[in-house]
């Protein structure tokens, strides 16, 4: 595999990016640096991608979904040759096609779903992780994106599309639906289904759309209604929106699906759509950071980003900080927390399509104040200005997380070209799933 274009040594630093470079230069640099994660974290022998850049990290199937989604961006920008991207995508899809689907403790999956974490080398389940419905959905979002982008009539690209179709069709979504209700979170060979279901507004729109759009094993039509019955429409800080605390909830599914101007029954009843809702959720983030009820250092309307991310843990901190409550990796949210003063710079980048002016201002402000949040030119999972080292630098999460890099690449791309939105608009399964969920209007 070869990458073309700038490499890591050419990247500008965070402090430079915060200075007077144009938006285009800033976004180019951030997007390219984020993409490079996938070149560095991939196993070139099977296409699996590490969850994080940390030593011994396993593969996260969701990160593979992001990888498959950013290869088209790399082709479009000239960072990868199309043939190389096709080869890497094919390698990945073949792995999943041929993976052990017997559902054993060492398998890769069953019923077409996959375990959340796989051994990067062998693809076997690790960490006794669950068969994950949402992470399988994010993986398949990448699979379908690749199939939509690589549309040439060549042997490789024909095979790529054929495998992608087979992977989607073999997922038994109905099996993962509880009786007449919403979709379950996961399953384990040792204990069966987890007790949790996908209830309450979340990043699961993609999951429900894929589960409804399947021509082979769709969930029943009442499934989406069962999910939206758990929604909460709230007026908070003067904004009326479909409430969810962490920002990534408002971002992840829309990395792939263009929800501008199309509405399901719930959004019709509120005269809103999910895209507009994500704009409002971004504004609510700004309002919360401006109020900063817990008094953390740094928060204001241009310094925000409470989302799912890594964070400090007491035992790893200097003595003076150990008395506090620190949450490690957690879905940070508002207005009720958890909030330990930890923010994610990438969350602002992921808000670009919804609130470009606010997002860009926040990106620049945060990079100027806390340039240490950018390591190797790309966003760390999080930073915490309340926790400072002896040099006065904010605490910064070590290494990088694949999910964060993927969403940065995709949301910058969607804002500038709408590439992923356009690709999946043309995917019949997505359109069918949206229509079965009750979406109408707009491009649909």
């Amino acid at each position: 595999m070869s990458a073309v274009g700038a490499d890591a040594d050419d990247r500008v630093s965070a402090s430079t990016l915060a200075a007077p470079v144009s938006d285009a230069v800033l976004l180019d640099a951030l997007q390219r640096a984020a993409f490079d994660y996938f070149l560095q974290a991939v196993n070139p022998h099977n296409g699996l991608v590490a969850d994080t850049s940390r030593a011994q990290s396993p593969c996260s199937i969701a990160v593979v979904g992001f990888a498959l989604s950013v290869y088209p961006v790399a082709v479009a920008h000239g960072w990868m040759l199309r043939a190389d991207a096709v080869a890497r995508t094919l390698l990945t899809l073949r792995f999943f096609r041929d993976s052990d689907q017997r559902g054993g403790e060492q398998s890769s999956g069953c019923h077409g779903f996959y375990f959340h974490f796989l051994d990067l080398r062998t693809g076997a389940r690790v960490w006794r992780s669950e068969l994950s419905m949402i992470d399988t959905a994010l993986l398949l979002a990448g699979v379908l994106t690749a199939a939509a982008f690589f549309d040439a009539d060549s042997a490789d690209e024909n095979e790529l599309r054929q495998i992608a179709d087979a992977l989607y069709r073999r997922v038994d979504w109905r099996w993962a639906q509880q009786d007449g209700g919403s979709i379950r979170h996961g399953w384990k060979p040792e204990s069966g289904f987890l007790h949790y279901c996908w209830d309450g507004y979340s990043e699961a729109i993609m999951l429900y759309v894929l589960a409804l759009g399947s021509p082979t094993h769709p969930v029943t039509s009442d499934c989406y209604r069962a999910w939206t019955a758990t929604y909460q429409w709230e007026n908070l800080y003067g904004y009326e929106f479909l409430y969810a605390g962490p920002l990534f909830v408002h971002q992840f599914s829309q990395a792939w699906i263009d929800l501008r101007g199309i509405r399901d029954g719930f959004m019709r009843s509120k005269d809103c759509d999910y895209f507009e809702n994500s704009l409002r959720a971004t504004e609510v983030q700004r309002e919360y950071a401006r109020r900063n009820p817990l008094g953390w250092v740094g928060y204001d309307e241009d310094c925000w980003g409470l989302t799912a991310c890594d964070g400090p843990q007491a035992e790893q901190l200097a003595l003076c900080y150990r008395q506090g409550r620190w949450f490690g990796y957690a879905a940070r949210g508002l207005p009720y927390g958890p909030d330990d003063g930890t923010l994610s710079g990438w969350a602002a980048a992921a808000a670009l399509p919804f609130a470009p002016t606010c997002a860009l201002r926040a990106m620049r402000t945060m990079l100027a104040r806390y340039p240490e949040m950018l390591t190797a030119g790309r966003y760390a999972s999080s930073f915490n200005p309340t926790l400072r080292d002896t040099d006065g630098n904010a605490w910064v999460s070590a290494g990088h997380y694949g999910l964060d890099q993927g969403i940065v690449v995709m949301m910058i791309e969607n804002w500038r070209s709408g590439l992923h939105w356009q690709l999946l608009r043309d995917c019949p399964y997505i359109g069918n799933g949206l229509r079965r969920a009750g979406f109408r209007g707009g491009w649909l």
């Binding site: 006794r128 939206t228 007026n235 003067g238 009326e240 009820p293 207005p335 009720y336």
Partner: protein
């Protein structure tokens, strides 16, 4: 008439306890001799039974009241009253430990005097028992019988060898703690609400099984008394009926009190080794064992229906739901009614009270009052408290009712900030297209006090918009309700209206 045996109390027999027992079951009590047919015969002298007996007697009815143990029922003796008393002491210990957050010099060492807290509890319980005393009942004209009641026909009951006849009867026998089917639990011994208030010293290590109101309240209290507490809850959240945000805030609060919170976890088996209780836990495929000195079970309550001879009276019941009643609280024997925990899904003292009043009107005065017409608030008295009234959003969605929710986090409320009590919120749900309040949830240090205003508004048909014009004393935490109302009013300012106002002001 024979004297009835006094049910033993496990509490230390101090002056308070003697007073309570004198009030709720005097040692030398002699059951009266019944005369003729009673207008209303009441079985059970808990909240529902006492309210009904007093109300009926006050209206001139001839009333008999049968109690097998203590007047006042669970609420007075082993429920709300003793638990709220010890929660207050526990909260003060928590505040002493966190005094520096309020700019107050914290005591150098906070040592817990558990025995003193329990003595205070007994004193409070004894004082409140005066209102429920046998002397007050007798003074009101109620004939009180102690002993186990059993129907021996459709219109008669036997107690302590005496048969009483009635025109109407009310079964208010209450509910008792459920014993979960966990191998080894019974042999190892466990605490429930019925005996935990007898403790004279706190267990060093306590496992609480069940994340309902009782389990959460007492886990937090005992943690604040210095116990090393673990709470296991089978479901992924505490208080499964409550809003997710409320339940999540509670989980955070319990963790902040040092409680080991084990959600999505089941207790599988108990064994005793060297005097300690070893409890095997399972969460999906993860298994572990906790070693504790005591186990508190708070997994639920089951109605007291055994031994009442209900079949002889033609009263339909089952072990889970209790006595089956219609919306008028009438059982399958139309002369026999039920009220309170023995028949209602909402097992609260105030619901028992309200249902008993319905029964008196319906049974004695041909009333047609319906249980379903009640607006019932409730509260879990953790810190923060979690209070609710009316519909949840989920219920409204299921009924296809369009809902708007107005949320005020307590960090928006000056008094909550000043009090250092910012954890919580007020959420008020209204029907879309109107300002009719459908329900509300309040999480706050004194949520139980705050929910009453919203309940009043619902019962009186006062819309959320009107609450905006109600002056609330400043600064109070209840101002959050007005802020929610103000937020609603602002949404009425449509773009058209805003433009019109601009033009008006420009002129």
């Amino acid at each position: 008439m024979s004297a009835t045996a006094l049910a033993p109390s496990g509490s230390p027999q101090d002056a308070s306890e003697s007073e309570r027992l004198r009030n709720v079951h005097p040692l030398a009590w002699q059951n009266p001799t019944p005369h003729g047919r009673y207008h209303l015969l009441v079985i059970g002298a808990g909240t529902a039974g006492l309210v009904a007996a007093h109300a009926a007697a006050a209206l001139g009815a001839k009333v008999a009241l049968i109690e097998r143990q203590w007047l006042g029922g669970d609420c007075l003796n082993v429920g709300c009253v003793p638990s709220k008393a010890i929660l207050r002491s526990a909260r003060l210990y928590a505040e002493m430990r966190s005094a520096k957050h309020y700019g107050v010099q914290a005591p150098a060492e906070v040592s817990v005097d558990f025995a003193a807290a329990m003595a205070r509890m007994r004193s409070i319980r004894a004082r409140i028992s005066r209102a429920d005393s046998v002397a007050r009942l007798v003074a009101a004209g109620v004939e009180v019988f102690f002993g186990a009641a059993e129907f021996n026909g459709r219109d008669s009951v036997t107690v302590a060898g005496t048969t009483l006849h009635f025109k109407k009867a009310l079964i208010a026998s209450g509910a008792g703690p459920e014993t979960p089917d966990i191998p080894g639990l019974v042999d190892a011994g466990f605490l429930t609400n019925e005996n935990i208030f007898d403790l004279t010293e706190p267990p060093r290590r306590l496992l609480v099984i069940g994340g309902g109101p009782l389990g959460c309240e007492l886990a937090q209290a005992f943690a604040r008394f210095g116990c090393q507490c673990t709470i296991v809850q089978k479901l992924p959240l505490f208080l499964p009926k409550e809003e997710r945000d409320a339940a999540q805030l509670l989980a955070d609060a319990l963790a902040a009190d040092g409680i080991e919170v084990r959600l999505n976890t089941e207790a599988m088996a108990v064994t005793v080794k060297a005097g300690a209780k070893h409890v095997d836990l399972r969460s999906d495929d993860y298994q572990s064992t906790v070693v504790v000195d005591a186990i508190l079970v708070g997994t639920g309550r089951v109605p007291n229906v055994a031994g009442l001879g209900l079949s002889a009276a033609g009263v339909t019941f089952d072990a889970e739901r209790g006595i089956h009643v219609n919306d008028f609280l009438q059982s399958s024997n139309r002369h026999i009614y039920a009220a309170g925990d023995v028949c209602l899904p909402h097992k609260f003292t105030h619901t028992a009270d309200a249902s008993a009043r319905i029964v008196v009107r319906n049974a004695l005065f041909m009333g047609r009052q319906r249980l379903s017409a009640l607006t019932i608030p409730w509260c879990t008295y953790t810190d923060p408290e979690i209070a609710h009234v009316g519909l949840y959003v989920r219920q409204a969605n299921d009924q296809k009712i369009q809902v708007r929710t107005f949320t005020i986090p307590l960090h928006e409320v000056d008094r909550a900030i000043a009090d250092g009590e910012e954890t919580g919120f007020v959420k008020i749900h209204i029907r879309a297209g109107s300002d009719r309040i459908l329900g509300a949830t309040v999480v706050a240090r004194h949520a139980g006090e705050m929910i009453n205003e919203i309940t009043l508004a619902m019962v009186a048909g006062i819309g959320l918009g009107k609450l905006s014009s109600v002056i609330h004393a400043y600064p109070t935490q209840a101002e959050a309700i007005k802020k929610a109302a103000d937020a609603y009013q602002r949404t009425r300012l449509t773009p058209w209206l805003r433009a019109w106002l601009r033009r008006w002001l420009a002129w």
